[in-house]
């Protein structure tokens, strides 16, 4: 999640934020693996049933370009359109300066979202 959050940084996970309400676009969320000891910090960019695409580094949701003010690194990603499945959201990190194949991102179940960082 560079540059928004730095590797090795310290934070708390605010679990109530996603317990009673749905994750919204641009929310930064903690995505769990098998448990809560190791989690990923990612940004929600698309919600269920929306279509996600990257064209020359530009994020397109349902075919429309989305402004992402939190990005600071140049991006040249290309990703063919794909639709987010039911009960899922599409999450991506803010560090788009790295090659797309090295970046861990994609669709995840809402059940894996543990909360949002407290600050």
């Amino acid at each position: 999640m560079e540059p928004t959050y730095h590797d090795g940084g310290f934070n708390f996970c605010w679990r109530l934020r996603t317990l009673f309400s749905e994750p919204r676009r641009f929310d930064v969320v903690a995505v769990r693996f098998a448990g809560s000891k190791v989690m990923l910090l990612k940004r929600v960019v698309a919600l269920e049933y929306e279509q996600v695409e990257f064209r020359d580094g530009k994020l397109l949701i349902d075919g429309k370009a989305i402004e992402e003010p939190y990005l600071h690194y140049p991006c040249d990603w290309n990703l063919s359109p794909r639709r987010v499945e039911k009960d899922c959201v599409y999450v991506i990190g803010d560090n788009r300066g790295m090659p797309i194949e090295n970046h861990h991102f994609g669709q995840t179940s809402k059940g894996r979202i543990m909360g949002t960082p407290l600050w």
Binding site: F33, A34, K37, V38, V91, Q107, T108, R112
Partner: protein, 166 residues
């Protein structure tokens, strides 16, 4: 007075007995975790590791696997069934690309669907540095099936769970 004396001697003895029993006869869950701890120890590598240790660890890794182990990796060509010897060879070859490796497991969920089999869901984190100086930091959720063969829990299936689907 005599009763209290017996209690003072008896209670600690019972407690010591229970503790000893737990150490001498570990639960099946502990034995399963031991297989993961050994895998973690033998996959991990320090920069000072010599050739003898490297060969020994490579050989040891194979002993943790069933005669054949199925690997399931979403959208990668690594999926397939591997023999114990192949796993040792591939593990040795993969380790040689790195000067440092640390494998750690977190969040164990252990289920015993049958007496001689166990299903373990957990998070694995592999960190290290390649011989070319590149940093490695890979975290994955795994679903492993282990079978009890000759009193040892051996890996017979490892599946990488797709947490984020591109």
């Amino acid at each position: 007075m005599v009763k209290i004396k017996y209690l003072l001697i008896g209670v600690p003895m019972v407690i010591i007995g229970i503790v000893v029993a737990f150490i001498v006869f570990p639960s099946e869950e502990k034995k399963v975790k031991k297989s993961f701890n050994l895998l973690s120890e033998w996959v991990s590598k320090s920069p000072e590791e010599n050739a003898f240790t490297m060969l020994q660890k490579m050989k040891n890794i194979g002993t943790l696997f069933d005669e054949s182990c199925e690997l399931k990796v979403p959208s990668q060509s690594l999926s397939g069934s591997y023999k114990r010897e192949e796993i040792s060879t591939y593990a040795g070859s993969a380790r040689s690309y790195f000067s440092q490796l640390h494998l750690k497991f977190y969040d164990f969920h252990i289920l015993f669907p049958e007496k001689e089999g166990v299903k373990v869901t957990l998070t694995s984190r592999l960190t290290g540095k390649s011989t070319a100086g590149e940093q490695l930091d890979e975290t994955r959720e795994l679903e492993c099936v282990l079978k009890k063969i000759e009193k040892k829990w051996l890996f017979s299936q490892i599946e990488v769970v797709e947490v984020l689907k591109k």
